[in-house]
């Protein structure tokens, strides 16, 4: 009994497709526009889910039976306002980022790239196993008499 018609379905499909496409771009401004378009699509979907066109739900202008469903409208109204808040905030964030870095592109995470190029993890036990062993035998009786910390700390450089 409540069905989204073909025209509106096409509009929804186009809005969501364009939104996702822009979201997948690298330019921060395009991504932001993508979010706005997705927001439009979502608001429209909310409203359409309430039913086909009907009379505005204002008492005295029509019979209650002719009203459009008011609840989705109230929810969509909230959504519109919040989308606006989100948009302005992201806009300010993108602007600030551009002021600071001079580009409005989403960069790949360099640390992640570095991880991908690595053969083995940082502090790897395998790497620790390479190289000469300590001069002193830590299990010896002499080691148990030592009162100071050894001056040379193997592996990660001197401690002090």
């Amino acid at each position: 009994m409540i069905t989204i018609n073909v025209t509106m379905a096409v509009v929804l499909a186009v809005l969501y497709s364009v939104g996702f496409y822009l979201l997948l771009q690298r330019s921060l401004m395009r991504i932001l526009i993508g979010i706005v378009v997705l927001g439009h699509g979502a608001n429209l979907l909310l409203q359409l889910a309430g039913g086909p066109p009907a009379r505005a739900p204002v008492l005295g202008t029509a019979l209650p039976e002719e009203f459009a469903d008011p609840l989705p409208q109230a929810l969509a109204l909230t959504a519109i306002v919040i989308t606006f808040a989100l948009t302005t905030y992201l806009l300010a964030l993108g602007y600030r980022s551009w002021v600071l870095t001079g580009r409005d592109e989403v960069q790949d995470d360099l640390e992640d790239r570095r991880v991908a190029e690595r053969q083995r993890p940082e502090g790897s036990m395998e790497a620790d196993a390479e190289g000469p062993d300590d001069e002193e035998d830590p299990g010896s009786a002499a080691a148990s008499d030592r009162t100071d910390e050894p001056a040379e700390v193997s592996g990660s450089g001197a401690a002090r």
Binding site: V10, V14, R26, A85, D104, S140, A142, A143
Partner: protein, 789 residues
């Protein structure tokens, strides 16, 4: 019993305070509790050898968890090792560590904490309780082997010990759950009394065995034990000879009465135990470091104990308990001897020690007593155990009995050989080697060594004492004939095959030692294509590399890739559900109101154009067109409030965009006048793929919207209520009534979101303005100056 365990841990926690005053006193204080435990154990001798002393503390009644303890014969023998030897070794440590040693405070506290955990482990009668203490001892071992973590040898050995034993521990936990759930109880005594049948329980038993084999350093998991010799010698003597490594053997001893006749239990125990005994003995023959020689000897003896405890044979189990006690009583003093030798000469190398026996005859005699017990010389405890072991398998007969008997004989030959090698290496005069000039060892070092060695002699000379401990444990196994029922430990069983075995072992071992040069030649000629240590290293390195590669593949650091994965997931999971489960509504019309057609066309055209534009300003105008178009659609739908909000918001958004666009370059692809970055020009194929994915997902959302709204059968329940009650809110407009009355709290939340967003936006904009004010020509990046004018 729980109080005793907790007391260990509490005292260990305050021990560092004592260490500040005097390190020696800290070890002294630490030795009190293990000694008290020994006294406590023997005070309950009757109960332990009879019905057993039980104690249950409810841990969590709702989860049916309890801490269950039980003192029985096996527990009592372990208390001799954990408490008695623990007290001796702690006393020994007081003189082993220097007066101001940096390591002493840590070791005294950790050793005592370990003693508490180990005590809990050997007394536990509940599998989950046992598991908790099991892992606590692993952690204590990690900390004690790792010491300060300053030396690579310590770090590597500690990590290896932890990885191997915790791997086994986790397998064991899974096995415990399998066995406990299929038995309906986690009580060891109840499980053993009625062992659960079935495949789940069999898998669980095999998994528990993995834990026992790793903890007791059985092949192929054994290399962690020799590596752990990087720890100070008292630690090695206590954890890695006398007590902790026995945990696996003890667990096998606890469960064997229920499972010894099952192939999944005894076959791996017998095979791996025997292999471990031979490998350990063979390796011990070629070690030049006395401590590592003993470590491989320990590996070998643990294999021996494993075979005995898994035998499920009345005489075999008598031998098992005797050897368990014997091994503690000879291996701990041997380690202490090594510590003293190291202390007074500064070396543990076989090749550097000469003439020590003549200089320190007292120490040499103690070492001979202990080593002779290890070799199985009469009047010492080791002899009693070995005789019983040979008797058990010779008496058992059959293929299994003979293979094990001859295997143990071969292992014993090796044991005698490395015992002789130890004595020769430490004390003999060696031609061509400068005799050592030892300091005098402190009495505090000698006394504990002698005490343990003498205990082995006394117990070995008076068999009825050990018999009284071993028989009650072995009685859990049925005697199959009169020989088994009547078997008692004794120095003289008459001329018999086991006695011949003992003689062969002693003679063969001594012959091996005499021909040691030739044996070394054989050892050198043999190559080891299969090295367990290399296997461990390869496994760890492979794991590290695999983890790095998986991380590199999964975490690529590219936002579009992550989003793509998310969208694909949406398509695969709900998408498949939609295609298989959804039905397309029958009554769908082309258009509900003719006005929808032109408005929809505007929105679609603007949206499609948005993907092609290169100028930022055009893009923003197109977004505006979409927004106004949707506002129009709201009007058609009968939602004037929505349309008003939409027009207002769209206008404000446009204004905000224009403010920002003033500062940004006109085109998307140009970067602040410095030209485009290397990857600014996106690849065409990549863009096509993005477009395809976006289109499919967008279509999916629209189809889902149609199908889901079409699935609705009844008119909305609440909407009529809102309309009917709107007059009570004093509003003609139902939407307004909902927003400011019925759902007013939602609106407050919405206003809060707006305020937070406004505050965030303002702070970001003001930050830029603040920079501009502060900027006096230097410090800020060039582009910023350019931007801010």
């Amino acid at each position: 019993m729980l109080a005793l365990v907790v007391a260990h841990l509490v005292v260990a926690a305050v021990l560092p305070l004592v260490s500040r005053r005097s390190r020696r006193a800290a070890f002294g204080v630490a030795a009190v509790l293990p000694a008290a435990t020994l006294v406590w154990g023997f005070a309950h001798l009757d109960a332990a050898l009879g019905p057993g002393l039980e104690e249950t503390v409810t841990w969590s009644a709702a989860l049916d968890l309890e801490l269950g303890f039980r003192l029985d014969a096996l527990g009592l023998v372990m208390i001799v090792l954990v408490g008695g030897l623990g007290a001796l070794i702690l006393a020994y440590s007081a003189w082993y560590f220097g007066k101001d040693s940096r390591d002493a405070p840590r070791n005294s506290a950790l050793l005592l904490a370990f003693a508490g955990a180990m005590l809990g482990l050997v007394l536990a009668d509940d599998l989950l309780t046992l598991y908790v203490f099991w892992e606590l001892t692993s952690i204590a071992s990690f900390l004690l082997v790792g010491q300060g973590g300053l030396h690579r040898a310590n770090r590597r050995a500690a990590v290896q010990a932890l990885l191997v034993t915790v791997f086994g521990g986790l397998a064991m936990l899974l096995g415990i759950v399998f066995v406990g759930e299929s038995a309906g109880t986690y009580r060891i005594s109840e499980i053993v009394a009625a062992p659960p049948p079935g495949g789940v329980a069999a898998t669980g038993v095999a998994l528990i065995l993995v834990g026992a084999l790793t903890k007791s350093a059985q092949a192929p998991f054994h290399p962690w034990l020799p590596a752990a010799m990087a720890a100070p010698t008292p630690v090695s003597a206590y954890l890695h000879a006398a007590s902790m490594v026995k945990a696996g053997v003890v667990l096998v001893g606890r469960l064997s009465p229920g499972f010894a006749d099952r192939a999944e239990w005894w076959v791996p125990i017998a095979v791996l135990g025997l292999v471990t005994m031979l490998i350990g003995g063979w390796r011990a023959l070629h070690e030049t470091d006395l401590k590592r020689l003993l470590a491989f000897g320990t590996v070998s003896q643990l294999g021996f104990l494993m075979v005995l405890f898994g035998s499920g044979d009345r005489i075999g189990e008598v031998a098992a308990l005797t050897m368990l006690l014997a091994h503690g009583l000879f291996k701990a003093p041997l380690f202490m001897v090594v510590g003293i030798v190291d202390k007074v000469t500064g070396t543990r190398e076989v090749g550097a020690l000469s003439g020590l026996g003549r200089r320190l005859p007292g120490l040499a005699v103690a070492a001979v007593l202990a080593a002779a017990s290890m070799a199985g010389v009469p009047f010492l405890l080791g002899f009693l155990g070995k005789e019983a072991a040979f008797e058990a398998f010779v008496h058992q007969g059959g293929a299994r009995g003979w293979v094990l008997a001859l295997g143990l004989l071969a292992g014993s030959v090796l044991t005698v050989a490395y015992s002789a090698r130890f004595l020769w290496g430490a004390f003999a005069d060696k031609p061509g080697v400068e005799p050592v000039d030892p300091r005098r060892p402190a009495a505090g070092l000698l006394a504990p060594t002698w005490t343990a060695a003498i205990a082995g002699l006394v117990l070995g000379s008076v068999p009825p004492l050990v018999n009284a401990l071993a028989q009650p444990y072995a009685e859990a196994y049925p005697a199959t004939d009169a020989t088994e029922a009547d078997y008692h430990l004794a120095l003289w069983h008459g001329l018999s095959l086991p006695l011949l075995f003992s003689v062969v072992a002693l003679a063969g071992g001594l012959a091996l030692h005499v021909g040691r040069d030739r044996i070394t030649g054989v050892h050198r000629a043999l190559r080891h294509p299969l090295s367990a240590q290399r296997g461990y290293e390869t496994a760890v390195a492979g794991l590290e590399r695999a983890a790095t590669q998986v991380t590199g593949r999964v975490q690529v650091g590219s936002l579009p890739v992550y989003l793509g994965v998310l969208l694909c997931t949406v398509l695969v999971l709900p998408g498949v559900a939609l295609v298989t489960g959804g039905t397309w509504p029958q009554d769908q019309s082309l258009v509900s109101s003719l006005l929808q057609l032109p408005l929809g066309l505007i929105v679609v055209a603007a949206a499609l154009a948005l993907t092609r534009v290169r100028r930022r300003f055009t893009a923003v105008l197109l977004v505006g067109a979409i927004g106004y178009g949707i506002g129009g659609l709201f009007v058609v739908d009968g939602a004037p409030d929505l349309a008003l909000a939409q027009f207002l918001v769209e206008t404000l958004t446009l204004v905000a965009f224009v403010f920002v666009l003033r500062r940004l370059p006109a085109h998307f692809d140009t970067q602040n006048g410095t030209g485009s970055s290397p990857d600014a020009k996106p690849h065409r194929g990549v863009q096509l793929r993005k477009a395809a994915l976006a289109t499919v997902t967008g279509v999916f959302v629209a189809v889902a919207g149609v199908v889901l709204t079409g699935a609705r059968q009844q008119p909305p329940a609440a909407s009529g209520e809102f309309v009917a009650r709107a007059p009570e809110a004093g509003a003609d407009n139902v939407i307004a009534a909902i927003l400011v009355d019925f759902r007013a709290l939602d609106t407050v939340g919405e206003i809060t979101v707006l305020l937070i967003a406004a505050a965030g936006t303002a702070s970001l904009v003001l930050a830029t303005r603040f920079d501009r004010k502060r900027e006096a020509g230097g410090g800020t990046p060039e582009h910023e100056r350019e931007v801010l004018g």
